[in-house]
């Protein structure tokens, strides 16, 4: 049987599409910028981020201190850089934990069905009734403050969002004929899920995780702002906004504004990347 040339062409186009990056150049530059900040930030800080200089407080930008100094004379630029890992990797850990837990819960719930599904769904509904931050406050009240507690608390609070989405797409996937075909081959359910279902659901999961990252960054910054997360003298952007607030009111906006700007820019970069993934993959026909 000879194959028509058009079949070749269609295959080549599909392959080319798969190789083409779903993200714009701008997004790649932005994400690279964030990755460099998160990993190399502390080493890029030229001055000790925790060195107090009480003779020079709330100084304006100068050749020595490009972004000025804070209320205890610490170099703001160095503190921003030193705080990058906590500010960026914290939400990353939140999203990774929530994505793993949410996907596992969502797929398990959809696959088992029946009362197990109902039970898990109702629990998720209850968790939904509480805003993520409120749940985080509860967890912190129970387990104490600190970055680890804040990250775990937010991960728990974000799990229902991921779980609900993954459950809904997994429910649809469960009904697809190819799953029945694999079952007829005698494949184990776990194998079917791991080898076929998760790869097929991964675009949905990745998009939701990316969008959640922006929220997690904001929520973690808010927890830090309120003093429940990273503890002094550890620098992070959320608590820098809080620290800079009094100075902001007295005409020294550099600390609060620069930290806020970094938060805003990071959220924008990650969210626009997430939107691009969503646009690109939501049109998928399957």
């Amino acid at each position: 049987m000879t194959r028509p040339a058009t079949v070749h062409a269609a295959g080549d186009i599909a392959l080319a599409q798969r190789r083409r990056s779903p993200l714009s150049v701008g997004s790649w530059i932005g994400l690279t910028f964030l990755a460099v900040l998160a990993v190399l930030g502390p080493w890029l800080a030229l001055k000790d981020p925790n060195a107090i200089d009480l003779r020079n407080i709330l100084g304006d930008p100068s050749p020595q201190h490009w972004l000025g100094v804070d209320s205890t004379g610490r170099d703001i630029l160095s503190r921003l850089l030193a705080g990058a890992p906590v500010s960026l990797l914290g939400p990353l850990v939140v999203v990774i934990l929530a994505t793993i837990a949410g996907s596992a819960l969502g797929i398990f719930s959809a696959w088992r069905g029946g009362w197990i599904d109902t039970f898990i769904s109702r629990i998720l509904d209850i968790l939904f009734a509480f805003p993520a931050l409120l749940l985080a406050f509860l967890a912190i009240a129970l387990f104490g403050t600190g970055l680890q507690a804040a990250v775990i608390a937010l991960a728990v609070a974000y799990t229902p969002y991921l779980a609900r989405l993954v459950r809904s797409v997994a429910l649809r996937e469960r009904q697809l004929p190819y799953v029945a075909a694999l079952e007829v081959q005698g494949q184990r359910q776990l194998r079917i899920i791991v080898a076929h279902v998760i790869p097929r659901l991964s675009p949905f999961i990745l998009v939701q995780a990316t969008l959640s990252f922006g929220y997690a960054l904001l929520d973690l910054a808010a927890l830090n702002f309120l003093g429940f997360g990273a503890q002094p003298p550890q620098a992070d952007w959320g608590s820098m906004v809080a620290d800079g607030l009094p100075a902001l009111l007295t005409g020294h906006p550099y600390e609060a504004v620069s930290a806020s700007l970094l938060i805003v820019v990071s959220v924008l970069i990650v969210n626009s990347a997430g939107e691009q993934l969503a646009d690109r993959w939501s049109g998928r026909d399957d």
Binding site: V7, H8, G11, A14, G114, E183, V184, Q187, H196
Partner: protein
């Protein structure tokens, strides 16, 4: 058939499925079928008559909330209350199934090779290399040219006919003794259909498999099957050898189906049709499900649900004896 060994038996199986917000709807109403070693059993019926669900019962592929009653014995094992684990074992060793739409039944993001070797590697514990060699051989057996190249291709690169061969090959790789074929050629054009049917027949003979061949094409079923079962509204209404069924149908429904086929000698005339429209198992009330469309219906037909009993050399579910019916036709 000389070999009368029964490999799969369904005994008075009732199945009902949950419908959203409603009571369970009956799908099968007392299906009794036997599949014998080395035979092709054709299962024909209109859409919604329950033929696909019959195959799904045989493969254990039912939704969790399905209500199933009756007896089911596959390869000597009672499977009515079998666990997932028991089904898995049975499917991986004895029962294979091919489906109507191969494109929907093959994971589109995996290559054909991945699809074919997965079960061999995972269940038969073969190495990937030897599994690939087996897969290539299996593709060759079902008439696929250049199998090594096909193994590297993705499902979207293959035609429907080619993909159905891949599906058949994947099932044959597990060497099933029972093959459930759910309208395997319905989505294909006539030429491809006849090629695939001859491959299926060839493999069935070579391997001595028992095949349940589901179709809505009565002629096709009669042509390739040894025996044919006709389903209507969730019941088997007639079961007999393909030849007898084709020439001397016992049940009025089968008779009406045969009459409504286009034939050369009736060219130019209007096709005969069956009055009314097919009902589903859920719509069946007491009495014979076919009575409202039946030319021969008598008053008792709305009261008595006839059992499947011997009628001539076939089994038929009809109150009115065939010979009596023939007489009454003659009197008209």
């Amino acid at each position: 058939m000389t070999d009368e060994q029964v490999v799969l038996a369904m005994n008075d199986v009732h199945l009902s499925l949950a419908r959203r917000g409603e009571a369970h709807a009956p799908i099968l109403r007392g299906v009794t079928l036997e599949l014998r070693a080395g035979e092709i059993l054709g299962l024909v019926g209109e859409s919604g008559s329950g033929k696909s669900m019959t195959a799904r019962v045989m493969a254990g592929l039912l939704p969790r909330d399905a209500k199933l009653e009756g007896g089911l014995n596959v390869l000597g094992m009672p499977m009515m209350h079998a666990s997932d684990r028991e089904w898995r074992k049975l499917r991986s060793s004895g029962v294979g199934m091919i489906f109507q739409d191969p494109r929907a039944h093959i994971d589109p993001v995996r290559s054909v090779g991945d699809f074919l070797v997965e079960a061999l590697v995972q269940i038969r514990k073969m190495t990937r290399a030897s599994a690939l060699a087996r897969a290539a051989a299996a593709l060759e057996e079902v008439g696929v040219s250049d199998p090594e190249a096909r193994l590297r291709q993705y499902p979207h690169e293959l035609s429907g006919g080619l993909l159905q061969r891949v599906m058949i090959a994947s099932t044959l790789l597990m060497e099933p003794s029972v093959l459930l074929a759910d309208e395997p050629t319905t989505a294909l054009d006539v030429t491809t259909q006849s090629e695939l049917m001859s491959i299926l027949q060839e493999q069935q003979r070579a391997r001595g498999m028992a095949v349940l061949f589901i179709t809505h094409d009565l002629d096709l079923a009669a042509a390739i099957s040894h025996r044919v079962a006709v389903m209507y509204a969730g019941q088997v209404v007639e079961l007999g050898s393909a030849q007898v069924l084709d020439t001397a149908p016992r049940h009025p429904y089968t008779e009406a189906l045969l009459d409504s086929r286009p034939r050369r000698d009736t060219r130019g005339q209007r096709l005969a049709t069956i009055a009314g429209s097919p009902i589903s198992a859920a719509e069946a009330r007491g009495g014979c499900a076919f009575r409202d469309r039946c030319r021969h219906a008598i008053d008792d037909c709305s009261v008595i649900d006839p059992p499947l009993v011997a009628s001539g050399s076939s089994l038929s579910r009809c109150l009115i004896d065939h010979s009596a019916r023939a007489r009454s036709d003659h009197d008209d």
